[in-house]
């Protein structure tokens, strides 16, 4: 008898419990604030997270969530309408833009630079000429004491040891920007490797993500690899001073990167351009913007308003967090253009 009654009791109780849970959930979602979902590039993720944290303090009614899933995955989710905004280091191609039926607004949100970090104990200030670093990444310069490197590093004791080139194993906006630069300065590189988010490197080892490449550089003595500036700084890896188009050797600093970004010429209707090989004396050669991807026309006016307010915050007040996190604040002219475009989002 008891055996019969007990299951009934428990099922009644569990039904009651379930019911209570459902009503609770419903009431939560009804009172929930506007929710924004963002996904995309990993490189600006720390900055965007900071923006979100700061913005939420002043606007507790808006919940924003950003996932650093990578530029390619970000574009995919943005195209499939799974997020309220995307983010990409490689912007979007014309073909990708055409696939989004609500229309796309590319908004440069912050900027950064790519440095060649290395692991060569005893060498603190490596200077690499344009032919040297192209040669290294083409696999043509394989030893540290190669004349092409020695020429620009007089008095430095370069070891007769092999160079381990560290690259990305996954698709990446960082690779896109770096290969774009190498292709711009070397026809041979353009022909043999080309530019893209994922290329086949003629030499070296590969790791996943900026952190993966950073780890490879740390692990392998004699390694050199391309990573975002912030990663080299946080991991205290030395990085090379590079020769720019004007022939000057320039190290990556906020000033030299800002100078490089200032040379960018945007086409009239689209804020999409890369300073692939900036031409000025004080320019660091490899700098890039990174973009937020917004829809031209949102289905939900409330979402549109929330996105606009948040991005507006990022483009104005948010810029002051750039430097401490290893990013370059947007040049004034670019920030103004971004804000103008932002106004047209519906």
């Amino acid at each position: 008898m008891e055996g019969k009654l007990l299951p009934m009791k428990t099922s009644k109780v569990s039904f009651l419990f379930l019911g209570a849970l459902v009503t609770q959930l419903v009431s939560w979602s009804a009172s929930a604030a506007t929710q924004l979902q963002g996904a995309g590039a990993t490189f600006p993720a720390p900055l965007y997270q900071r923006w979100i944290a700061e913005y939420s303090k002043a606007n507790p009614d808006v919940q924003i969530n950003y996932q650093g899933v990578g530029s390619g995955a970000g574009i995919k989710q943005f195209t499939q309408n799974l997020v309220s905004f995307g983010a990409s280091d490689a912007a979007m191609t014309d073909k990708e833009i055409a696939a989004v039926k609500q229309g796309v607004m590319l908004i440069p949100a912050t900027a950064g630079s790519i440095v060649l970090a290395y692991n060569l104990p005893g060498v603190d200030n490596l200077k690499l000429s344009r032919e040297a670093y192209v040669g290294i990444f083409l696999g043509k310069i394989a030893k540290w004491n190669d004349p092409a490197i020695a020429k620009t590093n007089e008095g430095v004791n370069l070891p007769n040891s092999p160079i381990t080139v560290c690259t990305r194993s996954d698709g990446s906006g960082t690779t896109f920007v770096f290969t774009k630069h190498l292709s711009a300065i070397s026809p041979e590189f353009k022909d043999k490797v080309g530019e893209g988010t994922s290329v086949t490197w003629p030499t070296g080892v590969a790791g996943k993500g900026n952190d993966g490449v950073t780890a490879l550089i740390k692990q392998n003595r004699g390694a050199i690899g391309y990573v975002e500036y912030g990663y080299a700084i946080h991991n205290k890896l030395p990085f090379a001073t590079l020769q720019n188009k004007a022939g000057e050797f320039v190290t990556a600093t906020t000033a030299s990167e800002e100078a490089a970004l200032a040379t960018t010429q945007f086409p009239p209707n689209l804020l999409r351009a890369w300073p692939s090989d900036p031409d000025c004396k004080e320019c660091y050669p490899i700098a890039t913007f990174t973009w937020l991807l917004l829809y031209q026309k949102y289905d939900n006016a409330q979402t549109a308003e929330a996105v606009k307010k948040f991005v507006n915050f990022g483009l104005t007040d948010g810029q002051k967090f750039s430097e401490e996190l290893g990013y370059i604040p947007l040049p004034k002219a670019v920030a103004d253009k971004s804000l103008e475009v932002l106004k047209t989002v519906q």
Partner: protein, 319 residues
């Protein structure tokens, strides 16, 4: 059951148990069919997206050594070879080692308690998460390979297998760590096979005057051989499918190289590295590579199971 007993409490209970058993049967049926359906479902969801590349390249996908995402050309040969070679080297290292451990644990060299303790520790190796092996490889094996690999390439560099430059993240590093990862598989199954050899065989061998080592090499090992072969094949399957540790250590290079000191790549590592950011035809190519990996590991595991089953039957005959 007599009809008069039907209404009795005992009869009621019996029927209840029977009904429950039926329900239990249905549940087990559903569960086992669900497992089969899941496998087919996984295969289907790999084949469908892979179809454009399968149709376009067919088997030449596995003959081409060019994996160039940028130009939409996909060939999986380097990864196929990387998978096979890293697993083979791991086996070459782990098989003798694992076999010695299994012998040691099945003979009475040490008191039973100590043997149990050692066996427990070896089997614990299987419980260590893959990523921890990867970290250990980074901290310990990479510096070792870089250091000794340098000497190897300096003195034996004329042999293509050891030609330089020696990189820390290389085929050799990945294989060494894989060897340790498959050690518990080899040891556990081989030990079971050795223990299952009937004591009468050993006694017979001693009776005709064989020494302990003669008994081990001429009687015990041959009798347990099918089980040891099965252990090896299963370990091979495990090594081929291993992803995280290998991706962290092998260097993920899409280039073919003779040298063990060069970076290489495996199918599993390729998928883990590239899938997240893959687009268009690349997704299709990766799915095709995934299909190859699934078919390979399924085949190897099935072969291992088959040999193991035959081995069990064979020793059962002797008993």
């Amino acid at each position: 059951m007599a009809s008069g007993e039907r209404t009795s409490p005992a009869g009621n209970k019996m029927r209840k148990i029977k009904r429950r058993l039926d329900l239990f049967m249905v549940l087990t049926w559903v569960a086992s069919i669900a497992a089969v359906v899941t496998l087919l479902w996984i295969l289907e969801s790999i084949v469908t997206p892979a179809w454009p590349v399968i149709q376009h390249t067919g088997l030449s996908f596995f003959a081409s050594a060019v994996w160039d995402v940028n130009r939409d050309r996909y060939g999986a040969l380097p990864f196929l070879i990387g998978t096979a070679v890293s697993s083979l080297i791991a086996l070459i290292i782990a098989l003798p080692l694992g076999l010695f451990i299994a012998l040691f644990l099945s003979e009475n060299f040490l008191p039973l308690g100590v043997r149990h303790a050692i066996r427990f520790v070896v089997e614990l190796l299987a419980a260590i998460p893959s990523v921890v092996y990867g970290l250990w490889g980074i901290a310990v094996v990479i510096p070792l390979v870089q250091h000794f690999g340098g000497y190897l390439s300096d003195y034996l560099g004329f042999i293509p297998l050891f030609s330089g430059p020696a990189t820390g993240n290389s085929m050799l590093t990945a294989s060494l760590v894989l060897a340790i990862m498959v050690l518990p598989t080899i040891t556990a199954i081989s030990r079971t096979a050795l223990v299952a050899v009937p004591p009468t065989l050993r006694e017979g061998s001693y009776a005709v005057g064989a020494t302990r080592w003669e008994t081990i090499f001429r009687v015990l090992l041959p009798t347990a051989a099918p089980g040891i072969v099965a252990a090896t094949i299963l370990a091979f399957g495990r090594a081929m499918g291993e992803t995280m540790a290998v991706a962290m250590l092998i260097g993920n290079s899409p280039r073919l190289s003779w040298s063990l000191l060069s970076p290489a790549g495996t199918l599993a590592g390729l998928l883990a590295n590239q899938f997240g950011e893959a687009q268009g035809l690349q997704i299709s190519a990766l799915m095709y590579a995934a299909l190859a990996l699934v078919v390979l590991t399924l085949f190897v595991n099935m072969a291992g199971e088959a040999v193991l089953r035959r081995a069990e039957k064979a020793t059962a005959g002797i008993r």
